[in-house]
């Protein structure tokens, strides 16, 4: 077995703005938040749920009777967030709390801007601090403030809503939730050998010790036999088109204008084809069995990536007989 370097790894950033349609119950709730009010829903047993639930948790009945509740409430339990994480309601230390709003029977999870854990206790009174701009989502509640902190005469938070007219009369029917997650993606040891080989202009596969098939890229385990592939096999940059498609559809990030050919290329000596571009001839000239060779990018652009091969181009050799690649389709 060859000496092993640590596997390659790189940051992997995932982000997506999830858009979700709201049913009648949640639509009503977030529309009220936009208007700086809180509306729960009455359960089958008369309990008032805030946040609202669409179906009664005990009977399963659909719920629809809205009940307006207060914007002050009582802390049911709390914990202290000393080092807030990305995306949380406040960037400075705060308390997470379940808050039972006045008139509600269940509790809402949110942040309390208490300053220090010593100022938190179960049973304390808190009041909603509305976001500067409310749009119809849970973060319209910026956080809760301890009621004792509020200057007397500032008015109950219920009055606060009258100071700002609703931004719209239409109900909110959609919410958008951005999700951003940060990973470190690791290539396997075998993939890392392959990627480092590419940086030197070499195509490194590996042979399964049981079925003797050559995989490129090499795998952590032979998918047929479930054993690690260990014997390294250097492959030439020539091969045969086993199958292909002509891309006619434009899409975001497309490198070349359609029509062009995306093909499976079975490198000579390999048992699994690579997917790559076949350029250098008209798209309708590409065919199964066509012999091709890698067109490498200039050496100074090489990195640990298959992009070092810009595309495969026809060699002009006679086509490979079907039997030579039939097993690899």
């Amino acid at each position: 077995m060859v000496a092993t370097e640590a596997p390659l790894s790189a940051p992997l950033e995932l982000g997506f703005d999830y858009t979700r349609s709201l049913g009648p119950v949640l639509s009503r709730f977030v529309t009220a938040l936009r208007d700086r009010r809180v509306e729960g829903v009455r359960g089958s047993d008369g309990r008032v749920h805030v946040p609202p639930v669409e179906y009664d948790p005990v009977t399963g009945q659909p719920l629809s009777e809205p009940v307006e509740v207060g914007t002050e409430g009582t802390v049911v339990t709390w914990s202290w967030m000393a080092e807030p994480l990305e995306g949380q309601p406040l960037a400075h230390p705060f308390a997470w709390a379940f808050v039972r709003l006045d008139g509600a029977d269940t509790a809402l999870l949110h942040a309390v801007d208490a300053g220090a854990p010593a100022r938190m206790r179960t049973g304390m009174r808190v009041r909603i601090r509305w976001a500067e701009h409310t749009v119809g989502q849970i973060s319209d509640i910026a956080c809760f403030d301890p009621v004792d902190d509020l200057v007397s005469g500032a008015g109950r938070s219920g009055d606060q809503r009258h100071s700002r007219p609703p931004t719209s009369q239409d109900p909110v029917t959609m919410i958008t939730t951005p999700v951003h997650l940060h990973y470190r993606h690791s290539a396997s040891l075998e993939e890392s050998r392959y990627l480092r080989g590419l940086a030197e202009g070499r195509l490194l596969g590996q042979r399964c010790p049981e079925c003797r098939k050559v995989y490129i890229p090499p795998r952590g385990a032979c998918p047929t036999d479930g054993v690690p592939t260990v014997e390294e096999v250097e492959l030439p940059d020539t091969g045969t088109v086993t199958t292909f498609c002509i891309v006619n559809v434009p899409f975001l990030g497309q490198r070349i204008p359609p029509p062009y050919v995306s093909a499976y290329v079975l490198l000579d000596g390999a048992d699994i084809p690579l997917m790559h571009l076949v350029l250098g001839c008209a798209a309708d000239e590409v065919r199964m069995g066509m012999r091709v060779q890698a067109q490498w990018r200039p050496r100074e652009e090489w990195d640990t990536t298959l992009r070092n091969i810009d595309h495969f181009r026809p060699t002009g050799e006679p086509d490979a007989p079907f039997e030579s690649y039939a097993e690899h389709l």
């Binding site: 640590a6 596997p7 790894s9 992997l12 995932l14 979700r20 709201l22 949640l26 709730f29 749920h49 805030v50 946040p51 639930v53 948790p57 049911v76 339990t77 709390w78 914990s79 202290w80 967030m81 000393a82 994480l85 990305e86 995306g87 949380q88 309601p89 997470w96 709390a97 379940f98 269940t106 509790a107 809402l108 999870l109 949110h110 942040a111 854990p117 179960t122 989502q137 849970i138 919410i175 939730t177 999700v179 997650l181 940060h182 990973y183 470190r184 993606h185 690791s186 290539a187 396997s188 040891l189 795998r219 952590g220 385990a221 032979c222 998918p223 047929t224 479930g226 054993v227 690690p228």
Partner: protein
């Protein structure tokens, strides 16, 4: 239930539990040696396995269909019967158990894996909460466990001192577990002087972040005795679920755990391996299950010594079964949980004969 074959756990294996592997998020590097050892131990050939089933999560891996690549570790040609659950592999075990009970397979290999170190576990787990009104606030998994811990403390159900005792006992037991991530005992004396990680939880109250994988072999009655000298016969396997609405739940309880235990029939168990990544949750679950004081809880060290996500519940079943294999217990219980704050609970009761 007459007419359905009895099913036993006949083999259990796991990877070392570590803070960070250099392997991929599809678990192949962790799984291949586990499978090889398990098949050797049971004498079962890879191609004889009637059904394969796994539990894992794409959110943990940060990539779609990560479990498909994990199938490489099996060797899937000729084609195999295979399935996957997006959750703890204990639920994959449940699926495999049903397959065998229905006569569709007479052996099954169940596996779970998770590389938590690839991302920020505490944020990733926020995404299992209600996506409309809760997850957008990114409540991390430790913080919501702290909210639950305080409910119990203030209701007099448990205390910070009892929580520290759970931590000290688990860590002392973990010393003897060669696969445990944390193998140094804690000094019980100073635990309550430690600063809070998430008031009222301290670091010792929380499971470490762990990469790991595990696998179990199940077999129908007629095969079990060939594959294992002392199979752990499954006498009850049940799972139940509580509301996902955390603010509507009494967080000092987990009624679904009690209901699953009642349905599975846990009387007389001598050992209980509980999937409780927080000390407070062990104390909650002991009450909910009504475990007697002489029941040995988490003799492996439990999740507080190593907690590979999505394999952790399967490991609890495996560790409990191992006590039957070695004859040190006659009747045992493995518990698994999915979702936030013991929302979904599975109980697997096994016995030696």
């Amino acid at each position: 239930m007459s007419g359905f074959p009895e099913v036993a756990v006949v083999g259990f294996g796991q990877s070392p539990q570590v803070r960070e592997t250099t392997g991929t998020t599809n678990g192949v590097e962790m799984l291949v040696p586990v499978f090889q050892r398990l098949l050797t131990d049971t004498g079962l050939s890879r191609r004889e396995v009637g059904f394969w089933c796994s539990g894992s999560s794409d959110y943990l891996a940060g990539r779609a269909f990560s479990f498909v690549t994990a199938v490489d570790a099996i060797g899937a040609l000729p084609p195999i019967a295979e399935s996957h659950v997006e959750g703890d592999a204990a639920w994959a075990l449940y699926e495999a158990w049903l397959k065998i009970r229905m006569g569709e397979a007479d052996t099954a290999l169940v596996y779970g894996f998770g590389k938590s170190s690839a991302g920020d576990l505490h944020r990733v787990l926020a995404l299992q909460l209600d996506p409309y009104l809760v997850a957008p606030l990114w409540p991390d998994s430790v913080s919501i466990a702290a909210l639950q811990a305080r409910v119990g403390i203030e209701a007099g159900l448990w205390s910070e001192k009892e929580m520290a005792e759970v931590a000290a006992r688990s860590r002392a037991d973990g010393v003897a577990n060669p696969n445990a991530q944390l193998r140094e005992p804690l000094d019980p004396a100073g635990l309550l002087d430690a600063p809070y990680l998430a008031d009222p939880l301290r670091a010792h109250d929380c499971a470490p972040i762990t990469d790991g994988a595990a696998a179990i072999v199940l077999a129908a009655g007629h095969r079990a005795v060939d594959l294992c000298a002392r199979p752990a016969w499954i006498t009850g396997l049940e799972h139940r679920v509580d509301s996902p609405v955390l603010g509507a739940r009494d967080l000092g309880r987990a009624p679904s755990a009690g209901a699953a235990a009642a349905a599975a029939g846990i009387d007389g168990v001598q050992v209980a391996e509980l999937a409780t990544p927080f000390t407070s949750q062990e104390l909650l679950l002991r009450r909910e299950l009504g475990l007697a004081d002489d029941v040995l809880v988490n003799p492996s060290g439990g999740p507080l010594c190593g907690n590979p996500m999505f394999a952790g519940g399967l490991i609890r079943i495996g560790e409990a079964a191992a006590r039957v294999f070695d004859g040190s217990a006659g009747r045992v219980l493995g518990h698994a949980s999915n979702g936030p704050l013991l929302q979904q609970n599975l109980i697997c009761v096994m016995e030696g004969r």
